[in-house]
């Protein structure tokens, strides 16, 4: 079967190239921005999502994970007594000042966990043994932060809050996207390095015993332990993500650029298809005169839109792949799961179909008698 749509599209190569450039540009914008957004969103709660805790207990009124405030460690014992609690572990998060070899200071976030239970420990070790954090002021940092922290190899020393620390290992996958670099150490070391008084913790992590419902245990802890907030892990993760994505406007800004990609793509494709339709008006009129229905003409325009979207998507994805690889080399995380890619493809198709609306409206109004009037 002869595809008038395909023939017309490929006949005018320059116009086709312009349309493809527009769609590809839109696809790259959407893909990269969405990938950065999703990585950003996932990253801000990366520590919450990688602990095996079911419930997080925080100081009352906490806005998000990164701004943890200390409360009495005694609460941990109260929590441990609540029926359905398998274990309750203390967990530290607090800011510190890291001294680089050049003498400058970097703000870091110290993450303190219990090396005996390893609850809240880094999950991907590049070098070193995470048990070593139990040694005095031994720390791990993420490989993506190497340059920022002064390229300190294992065994080298520096200072946090004017206390000497020793690099014991390197981790990966725990880069703080917008906050200061995470420095992993033992709870005890973290407390020593911080300005927080002993006898406090910043979080209590809870594992629910088998056979108990997380929601029930959460409710019981709320009823039993006062002056703290009690979240399930997914809720706390979402609260933190929403804080950074919505309250700070960062996520909105990223999504706005992605949306701009959709708008730019739609405008370019709409303009291209509409101009093409206008220039082929006589051909559409001829088709109508020889018996084509409006639907036959819509099929031609829709087929053009679909061809544009499929090829534009493929080209856009190829460019996006290169951009993302370059970004990853710079340790800038991009997260794109297959369902997201399918979603972007569907969005591209919808964008191209939407771009056809003007053209469809134009051919609907063609009077087939025009072919005799010219």
């Amino acid at each position: 079967m002869v595809s008038i749509a395909r023939k017309n599209l490929f006949h005018d190569k320059i116009r086709f190239a312009v349309a493809l450039a527009g769609i590809s540009f839109a696809v790259v914008l959407i893909t990269v921005q969405l990938g950065v957004y999703l990585a950003f969103r996932s990253n801000v709660s990366v520590l919450i999502d990688h602990t095996e805790a079911d419930i997080w207990i925080t100081a009352h009124g906490l806005e998000n994970f990164d701004f943890g405030r200390p409360f009495s460690e005694k609460k941990r014992y109260e929590v441990a007594e609540v029926p359905g609690v398998a274990w309750a572990e203390k967990y530290f998060l607090g800011f510190g000042y890291w001294k680089t070899p050049g003498g400058s200071q970097e703000t870091v976030q110290m993450v303190g966990f219990d090396p005996e239970t390893m609850v809240g420990a880094p999950w991907s070790i590049v070098k070193g043994n995470p048990q070593d954090v139990k040694y005095f002021n031994s720390i791990f940092y993420d490989e993506a932060e190497t340059n920022r922290l002064g390229n300190l190899p294992i065994g080298s020393e520096t200072e946090i809050n004017n206390h000497r620390v020793r690099v014991a290992g390197i981790v990966s996958g725990a880069r703080s996207f917008i906050q200061s670099p995470y420095i992993f150490t033992s709870f005890k070391n973290a407390l020593n390095l911080s300005f927080i008084n002993k006898g406090n913790t910043v979080y209590v992590l809870v594992k629910v015993a088998p056979g108990y419902s997380v929601k029930d245990v959460q409710r019981r802890i709320r009823e039993t332990v006062k002056d703290v907030d009690v979240y399930t892990s997914p809720d706390f993760s979402k609260k933190t993500q929403d804080y950074w994505m919505i309250n700070t406007g960062t996520g909105v800004a990223l999504l706005a650029v992605a949306l701009m990609g959709v708008v730019i793509g739609t405008v370019i494709v709409a303009n291209t298809i509409y101009t093409s339709t206008t220039e082929h008006l006589k051909e559409f009129g001829t088709l109508k005169a020889i018996g084509a229905s409006n639907w036959d003409l819509y099929v031609i325009i829709i087929e053009q839109a679909l061809i544009n979207s499929v090829i534009g998507f493929a080209v856009g994805m190829a460019i996006s792949y290169l951009v993302i690889q370059a970004m990853k080399k710079g340790h800038l995380p991009v997260l794109l799961a297959p369902p997201v890619l399918v979603g972007i493809f569907v969005l591209t198709v919808l964008m191209c179909l939407w771009s056809s609306v003007l053209s469809i409206s134009k051919v609907t109004r063609i009077d087939p008698a025009m072919v005799f009037k010219s």
Binding site: V2, K282, T286, L287, A369
Partner: protein, 233 residues
């Protein structure tokens, strides 16, 4: 419904067409009646603005008469719903335009094949039929060329082959020789005449070209929207 003799393919009964309303209205065709038979090569002649094209559009179901009726075989096509007209145009009528109106991105073969596809003849059958039609108009060796690579006469042959797609009983041609030299114009006219005489189609052609009138079986003259008494039967 008026009964029409089997030989009559197209019948116009007291057809008038008025454009616009009120004082600014113009009556382009006035009370035209004609019975047009299969196997005839018929000319419609007249000066510019006389109503030739309007009459052709009325015959081709591209315009509705203000009064009167148009019948194709037994079907009163002028009273059909708008949505039914594409079917009539697809199945009953083949058009040939003065400006050829070929699709520039499609080869000669594809131009004919696309029209066949539209009329329901698809796949290998459509391609084979398109080849046949082009061979019939003498374009076997040029069927893979784009219109821009064809001469005027060759383009019009493609247009004739396209008009034959779907085997319509009526061919309506709007000054098909208007953009051709006299020799090529006569050749195209002869092809159209043969389509009428040898294949039993009704070929109705609007023309200004007095050099080819000898080929016509019947000539209608129209002036100011009215058929003239001097029309040759």
């Amino acid at each position: 419904m008026t009964s029409i003799a089997t030989k009559t393919v197209l019948r116009l009964a007291h057809v008038s067409k008025t454009y616009g309303e009120g004082e600014s209205s113009v009556e382009a065709v006035h009370d035209v009646s004609m019975d047009l038979d299969a196997g005839k090569f018929i000319f419609l002649m007249g000066p510019s603005g006389s109503g030739k094209t309007t009459l052709l559009m009325l015959m081709g179901c591209l315009l509705r008469p203000t009064t009167g009726s148009v019948h194709i075989f037994d079907e009163a096509v002028s009273s059909l719903a708008e949505s039914s007209l594409p079917r009539v145009r697809r199945s009953r009528i083949g058009y040939i335009f003065q400006g050829f109106n070929l699709f520039p991105a499609l080869t000669a073969l594809e131009n004919v094949e696309a029209t066949l596809n539209l009329k329901g003849c698809r796949g290998a059958e459509g391609r084979a039929e398109a080849r046949n039609l082009l061979e019939r108009v003498g374009l076997a060796k040029r069927m893979h060329h784009l219109p821009e690579d064809l001469s005027g006469g060759e383009k019009q042959r493609v247009a004739v082959a396209r008009a034959l797609a779907g085997n319509p009983p009526i061919i309506l041609a709007d000054e098909p020789t208007g953009m051709l030299d006299s020799k090529t114009g006569r050749l195209i006219s002869e092809i159209l005449r043969d389509l009428a005489h040898e294949e039993g189609r009704l070929v109705f052609m609007v023309s200004h070209d007095s050099r080819i009138t000898a080929l016509a079986d019947q000539i209608f003259n129209i002036e100011d929207g009215c058929l003239q008494d001097g029309s040759r039967q």
